[in-house]
Symmetry: C2
Subunit: 590 residues, 2 copies
């Protein structure tokens, strides 16, 4: 729930009766209601951060009443993004500002990378202050496990740690378990199920994830108590998840544009109230260029979903899913005053945005200074930088014992790899792929105690080397066509202090330092969007053919996507759990 001081409620009660003047009066709009699905002429009287009354205003207007002329505009509730990842380039506050500018006034963020970088204490402080500073509402989910299994993971995501986070008002739920097969493993499930029950006892819920679960496994996942799934990629999968009792978050990300394929599940269902929309994390420049939830609404409207159903998905439905429907998701008495003013219901990107009762954005820009510019980033991210090792070129050679032909992973799209055997040739004291366009991959984590190598195909033929701290294990990833270029990339990354550095073959270096935990930029959103776009552009200049290089880098080290992944244990065939090339143990100095 979102606190509302009794003193403010008392004012609301007076203003609702038109006895006192409001703080803000949105005048002359037509107001759309998610309850009735209808639009009626009416003013919106606001006190503090809450709505007091909706309808023609006949009460007093005081000297302290701000008037917002909304004649000719349609007011809809602020949009809600119920599942997203504040990871690449933009810091969480900058992303919340950008979202608010486009009418998404409530976001639910995943905490994974920030938990790994900052630990539970740092995370708690960061999430609290970001949620306080954001123009709209920012909530968080608390992960119970990483996306790349590591020794000691259970201590990092211990029941005590997760419970401590969930006891914070800014945390709404446990985070998705991307490695959902753990729920089916009698050795691993008890810890997760116990944390889930802790969450429920605290009045929180469990955000779900059932990507690719078969008809046999889907009920087992639903039985764990998870509340939702955002991973359906076909209408049939969406229907199956609805039928299993899960809330269905229809996803359209910059990685996967699935909404149009999913909408038939919505149109064909007798009831639409257990569907909502999610971007599931978007590239910063994608947000800048096409929008966030407003983009999804535009797609849905364009596909013929009735306006009342579409806007409900992103407002009241999402609020009900989050159990915040007494506070969010409607322009109604007592609700938080998140109001988007549109030129019409056919154009979901707002021209004016009121967030928490204040005019926040006009024509897509903040009306005041961005809180992210003055935020104490350095203090909040202190200690979060991943240590970047100093490896020489030899460190990247595949060892003499590596199998040849070698099981390489060819990128079938931005994130899925398909196993493909490729020949290796001797090189120095080890081996190297014969294909000059292949990239050797090397990974370590924050401990610096191991190094895993593998081979990737189909990444970007013109990419000589790349090193980054943007990985799902919060460690360091290096990719390259020669060991020397990889060593150079790593040195460049050390010099940059984290982020992404890459060398375009024959051209030179592009550097994208990300000083916040190696994944984000301080300051406002526009800089992050520019950097993200430049990074994408540099990758495209290397011939990167896929949709989202952020996710490509991020997911090389995850352990839940097919076929081959780099993990602490080694180069992993996900489906069988087989380690195809074990990780190399390192001394304390790497």
């Amino acid at each position: 729930m979102i606190p509302c001081a009794p003193a403010l409620r008392q004012r609301l009660v007076r203003v609702a009766q038109e006895l006192d003047a409001p703080d803000l009066l949105i005048r002359g709009a037509r107001v759309w209601s998610p309850f009735t699905g209808e639009t009626e002429a009416g003013d919106v009287a606001i006190c503090g951060d809450r709505i007091a009354r909706v309808g023609p205003w006949a009460g007093p207007v005081g000297a302290g009443t701000a008037i917002l002329d909304a004649a000719g505009l349609v007011a809809v509730p602020g949009y809600i993004e119920p599942h997203t990842h504040p990871w690449p380039f933009a810091n969480p506050l900058a992303l919340a500002e950008a979202a608010a500018c486009r009418g998404t006034t409530c976001l639910v963020y995943d905490d994974l990378l920030l938990h790994l970088a900052l630990g539970v204490e740092g995370l708690e402080a960061l999430t609290r202050t970001v949620s306080e500073a954001a123009p709209g509402h920012v909530f968080w989910t608390a992960r119970m496990a990483s996306q790349s299994r590591f020794a000691g993971e259970e201590a990092v995501f211990s029941r005590e740690h997760v419970a401590r986070l969930l006891a914070q008002p800014q945390f709404l739920a446990t985070g998705e378990m991307t490695r959902w097969t753990d729920f089916l493993d009698p050795a691993l499930a008890p810890r997760l199920l116990e944390i889930g029950e802790v969450a429920r006892a605290l009045g929180k819920f469990s955000d779900g994830h059932t990507a690719g679960a078969s008809a046999r496994r889907l009920p087992a996942l639903a039985a764990t108590g998870m509340r939702s799934c955002h991973e359906a990629i076909t209408a049939g999968e969406a229907r199956d998840r609805l039928g299993a009792g899960l809330w269905v978050l229809l996803r359209n990300s910059s990685l996967r544009e699935d909404l149009l394929a999913l909408l038939p599940a919505l149109a064909g269902a007798g009831f639409s109230d257990r569907f909502t929309l999610t971007t599931d994390g978007a590239k910063a420049h994608h947000v800048a260029e096409v929008g966030l939830t407003d983009h999804l609404l535009r797609l849905a409207l364009g596909a013929g979903i009735p306006a009342a159903t579409a806007y409900r998905l992103a407002t009241l439905n999402a609020a009900t899913f989050l159990r915040l429907d007494d506070d969010l998701g409607a322009i109604a008495p007592g609700r938080v005053a998140h109001v988007n003013l549109l030129t019409s219901l056919t154009e979901p990107t707002p021209v004016l945005v009121v967030a928490r009762g204040r005019l926040t954005a006009r024509e897509g820009r903040l009306v005041g200074p961005a809180p992210s510019e003055d935020f104490p980033w350095a203090e909040r991210y202190r200690g979060g930088d991943p240590p970047i090792p100093a490896w020489g070129a030899d460190a990247f050679l595949l060892p003499p014992g590596a199998p040849s032909p070698f099981p390489a992973g060819r990128l079938a799209n931005a994130v899925i790899t398909r196993e493909e055997a490729i020949p290796l040739t001797p090189r120095g004291a080890g081996q190297w792929p014969a294909d000059p366009d292949a990239h050797v991959l090397a990974l370590t984590d924050r401990s610096g105690r191991w190094r895993t190598r593998g081979v990737v195909l189909g990444l970007a033929p013109g990419l000589a080397a790349l090193a980054t701290t943007y990985t799902t294990n919060a460690g360091v990833l290096v990719l390259g066509q020669t060991p020397e270029a990889m060593a150079e990339a790593l040195a460049e990354l050390r010099a940059a202090g984290g982020g992404v550095v890459l060398e375009v073959r024959g051209e030179g270096w592009h550097r994208f330092p990300l000083p916040l935990a190696g994944i984000q930029l301080p300051g406002g959103f526009p800089g992050a969007a520019r950097a993200a776009k430049a990074f994408h552009g540099a990758m495209e200049a290397c011939g990167y053919p896929h949709s989202d290089p952020n996710y490509t880098l991020l997911f090389f080290s995850c352990d839940f996507l097919p076929d081959l992944r780099a993990t602490e244990a080694g180069w992993l065939r996900v489906k069988t759990g087989e380690i195809l090339l074990p990780a190399e143990g390192l001394g304390a100095d790497g």
Copy 2:
């Protein structure tokens, strides 16, 4: 939320994959889903009190697996009654048993009279043990005020007391504020708004009540944070409440059969998911004769509401309203196994009821012994009996100073009184109504420090006198056509130890002792239903012309219904707050 042990979840996960045998297998039913609105052939595999899997069962069946043959039957989720009063005749456990027999496997009870009778400690113990013993789920709401204002009320319903109750898992919400005008009173509102915020901080909500609120006041009530209203009596009122952001509980009680008048609001709404059904408390024999939620469903289906919409009202919608939709309201993996088996969707009264995973009722009867029969009622209600004063006939005379003509209240229906001036004549040391069919009313509360008198018309011409401990102020009410008959009734009530006693003119006494706090019978439901029916019959024998004598007695002492009421302050004109005949102060011995 409803707890589910992690060890049980682990079993569910295995059984959901058809790896282990379930405890109970409902075989061969067609299963209706509130998510899709569709019915599909399928078995229901149950472990402990939860559903593991829905669909054709191909997994093992063990020696410990009970099989319930449901061939030819339709399975729907157990019904949910989200707002009801466990007050007249039947104790809360007996009512829950009767409800479960008719497919209502979750009830939300108001605590008002039990709080007044038992105090917060006794109430906490009673509610916990009743909720544990019930075959289905029993939840409670915690009142913040009485329905009949009295000195010291704020201490009884203090923030500490209500918070203590709300911290208990069996309490879901603050109870309805029937005296909702208190929210509009700057002197009274802060306490209520603070308690509401305490509830929200505990993850609970505020059950609402906006009976008769005008378009001007309705938004003010919604702005207090209340979540619902069950008081709409026309489709227009229901639409107004929906539009104000309140969940709409479509009511059909034994007092007011409004459902058919309300249904156009549902049929006309674009979305039906924020409507549910309530009986708002029913006479015990009414439940026995026509049912509870099943009766409401029958009415809705008969009025042409599509089956998918109707069943959703009483299942998933209600669960979502209560924020229990991860636990209740659907036959789906992980949900509590409340399953009604129907001959068809056109007949909502189940032939078999599974509650908490166990076959509980068959053809409307419990399959095992009724827990209410062995419940430690005496221990749980100790100290709850209202003290019954020993007043002589003179105590009932209207005082010499009472105005003549006197403002009497004529019953326009079971509960509404309309003011009507009637002549008084001298009698003994005081006065008495000239009309022999008029009833003088006398009321006191548990303190015994005051006596209020008034006059009622149109009650029951053949009723010589009646005395009861069944009043909304948990005190004692006496009605009579002569002071002598009233004194005799009070003596009879003392002898009975509480309940209702009444004398049919020229016939003699009917006695309905209610030994539990003067309002309820120990033991099972059938006895309570018989007693309630006999009481109603005795009232009808006196010429009582209205629908519900329970509510007639109960509401003489409430202070929120028009026109005239008996309260601690005196004979009250509700609308103006004017005291027409002040209460008489009494010594410690009455």
